[in-house]
């Protein structure tokens, strides 16, 4: 299988504080990898750095995405080549209509790939199907992006965007946080529906619960800015039973 993402010895600093200390990780085509770890381990930093957020100082290491140097790509370039980040805290944007935003994004990506842009009717047809799969009511199309959405709606809207943009590599940053069990199942099923050998995923989570529905191929444990243990899906269960301390001896 081809390697989609290859992180080598990544060191990242924020405000002179080391957050990632030589993190290495690779994801193959079609693989869903879970990253678990205690608070402050650097999970969200990893997600942000991969998506290209400003404010992080890359001290060392490399990240290859589809064979290219990811760290040299702009945020929008990463997105148009198929990298998608589902935000832990989706941003509210008053005054921007959700359907207009998603269509603009989809068309920007399609244009970049040399495909035809979708007109409003074509877009709506596709959006209706995807929204239905996620059990979302269509009136969110005309609402402002994430404004007044409940926690569950925001996370579902992220997965909706993911479904619309059909990425190559999806990074889910604690998509399970703030979700009740029903919403969690709907979100996980939404992701499962997108699973194929064309989609790879990096699922960042605190708890094993999400992984009951969204079964990973591999589980990595991140602590103090490094991957300290890698295993199969059973590793997630061990953590649930013994805690991070029990497994790693880490605090």
């Amino acid at each position: 299988m081809a390697i989609i993402l290859e992180i080598n010895d990544l060191e990242v600093e924020i405000d002179n504080k080391n957050i990632l200390n030589g993190l290495s990780l690779s994801i193959e085509q079609g693989e869903i990898a879970a990253i678990m770890g205690p608070n402050g381990a650097g999970k969200s930093t990893l997600a942000s750095v991969l998506a290209g957020k400003e404010g992080y100082f890359i001290k060392g290491g490399s990240v290859k995405y589809l064979g290219k140097d990811l760290l040299k790509m702009s945020i929008e370039e990463r997105a148009t080549t198929g990298l998608f980040l589902a935000f832990q805290y989706p941003v509210e944007i008053p005054g921007v209509v959700t359907s207009v935003f998603v269509r603009t994004a989809l068309n920007a990506q399609r244009k970049m790939r040399g495909e035809n842009e979708l007109d409003a009717a074509e877009f709506l047809k596709l959006a209706r199907v995807k929204a239905k799969e996620l059990q979302m009511s269509e009136d969110f199309f005309s609402r402002a992006v994430n404004v007044g959405f409940s926690g569950g709606e925001k996370k579902r809207a992220e997965i909706f965007q993911m479904a619309m943009l059909s990425p190559t590599l999806a990074i889910l940053d604690e998509t399970d946080s703030g979700l009740d069990i029903d919403a969690l199942r709907i979100v996980a099923e939404g992701v499962n529906r997108l699973r194929s050998n064309k989609l790879s995923g990096l699922v960042i989570t605190h708890y094993q619960r999400l992984l009951e529905y969204l079964i990973p191929d591999t589980v990595h444990i991140l602590a103090k800015g490094k991957i300290v243990k890698t295993g199969g899906k059973s590793l997630a269960l061990d953590i649930e039973n013994k805690g991070y301390q029990g497994i790693m001896g880490v605090s």
């Binding site: 945020i75 980040l85 992006v145």
Partner: protein, 447 residues
């Protein structure tokens, strides 16, 4: 460059030399207003930053230049192309050099009197007598009961020099179809000025939509100054929607003073769109005299390079149950300056007043500056009033979110700026929306 006191004396001289040429110099009442006002101007001159309402920044062209009067008649040569009237434009009046040059319409709708001020002064002076006012009429006492004359000194200068303007009277219960468009073309000689006085008077139950537009006649920057004073009188149950689109070149100064008086249940919707590259100032003063009157005062300033644009509002609630809403949005790029001074005054006894003011500014460059000041003077007990002013930059989290979906940074910024000023467009009547949106797009294309 001239001293501000010399400039004052020169304008007074100019008035005395020129007064025999002014329209209406045979009318005693009109002469008296001009004389009274020039003597006010003699006392206070051109306002500088020592005057409270002119503190935001200095209007360097006004305070350092003497402008001669543009004596040229408006002429049709060398005018920019104005697009054809659209389907909804029932009537169009065109001014050049501050003088009317053309009225375009198929037929003047019944129940409307519309022409140039010059025409009315010559043919029907009795009709406009009550709508031509001295600056004293427009002054409001401060809490200390003193009158702040200095801040409106340019209106007295306007009194001394205006020759023309648009005059619109709409009869009782007449609804003017579509909208009336007033176009101002600034094709005048270098270092000159013109002054205009306009009147809009709606009788009981009348309804009217007006678009006012200043258009740069050419791309050459010319030092010039225009002053437009508009007197609006809205009788019981009448409704006026006014959209003003203000353009200007680098060395232009546009000063607009709008005074509106609202009777019982009358409605004023005013939206100002300011795109000037030079200096501009919109002063909108509304007196809500009738019970149940309504005023919506909106404004959008888009500034760039070295532009300086200011909006000043004063909404006075003088009677019960009146409502006002103010929404001002300012987007500034480069080293531009912008200002919003908003005031709500609720007089004693004006109970059940509802007055809201929201002013938001977005600074796109670290060199851009905005000055905003809300003022509330509330002398009644039973009122609902609110004010909120904010100044900020483009939200980095929002920008990152949009870009992370594949939208380019430039496009994402555009989306966020549009979202920021969206309320001003949303509040427009459908008749105006498309025109305003088109102008905003043109502004960004030319930028």
């Amino acid at each position: 460059m001239t001293n501000i006191l010399d400039i004052k004396d020169k304008y007074i001289d100019l008035y005395h030399k020129n007064k025999s040429l002014l329209p209406g110099n045979n009318l005693e009442w009109l002469n008296k207003i001009r004389e009274d006002d020039i003597s006010q101007f003699k006392l206070y001159g051109i306002p500088n930053t020592n005057v409270e309402e002119w503190r935001s920044y200095s209007y360097k062209y006004l305070t350092k230049n003497y402008y001669s009067l543009s004596l040229k008649e408006g002429d049709l040569n060398g005018l920019p192309n104005i697009e054809e009237r659209d389907f909804n434009c029932s009537l169009r009046i065109v001014f050049s050099n501050g003088k009317m040059i053309r009225v375009d319409c198929d037929e003047i709708p019944a129940g409307i009197k519309i022409n140039s001020l010059k025409y009315f002064i010559k043919n029907h002076p009795e009709l406009i007598k009550n709508d031509i006012k001295s600056v004293n009429h427009y002054l409001d006492p401060r809490l200390s009961q003193t009158l702040d004359i200095k801040s409106q000194s340019l209106v007295s200068l306007n009194s001394a020099f205006y020759e023309d303007g648009a005059v619109i009277y709409v009869d009782k219960n007449i609804e003017v179809p579509g909208y009336i468009e007033i176009i101002y073309l600034d094709s005048i000689e270098d270092n000159s000025m013109y002054h205009m006085r306009s009147i809009v008077n709606l009788d009981e139950g009348a309804k009217c939509n007006i678009i006012e537009r200043t258009i740069n006649s050419n791309n050459k920057n010319k030092l010039f100054f225009s002053s437009k004073v508009t007197n609006i009188n809205l009788s019981k149950n009448s409704s006026l929607s006014l959209m003003r689109l203000i353009e200007g070149n680098l060395d232009n100064t546009h000063i607009n003073n709008l005074y509106a008086e609202l009777d019982e249940d009358a409605t004023l919707n005013n939206s100002s769109f300011v795109f000037s590259k030079g200096e501009s100032r919109e002063e909108i003063r509304v007196r809500m005299q009738g019970q149940g009157s309504n005023a919506n005062i909106d404004g959008l300033i888009l500034g760039g390079k070295k532009s300086k644009n200011e909006i000043l509002t004063k909404v006075s609630h003088l009677n019960k149950n009146s409502k006002s809403n103010q929404n001002i949005r300012i987007v500034l790029d480069d080293e531009s300056r912008g200002a919003f001074q908003g005031k709500i005054r609720v007089d004693k006894g004006a109970n059940k007043t509802m007055a809201n003011m929201s002013g938001k500014s977005l600074l796109l460059d670290k060199l851009a500056r905005v000055y905003t000041k809300p003022e509330l003077e509330i002398l009644a007990d039973d009122v609902i009033c609110s004010h909120g002013l904010t100044v900020g930059n483009i939200d980095k989290e929002q920008l990152f979110y949009l870009c992370s979906r594949g939208i380019s940074k430039k496009e994402a910024e555009k989306i966020l700026i549009e979202a920021f000023s969206k309320i001003i467009i949303e509040n427009l009547s459908n008749l105006f929306k498309e025109k305003a949106e088109k102008r905003i797009i043109e502004y960004y294309e030319k930028k």
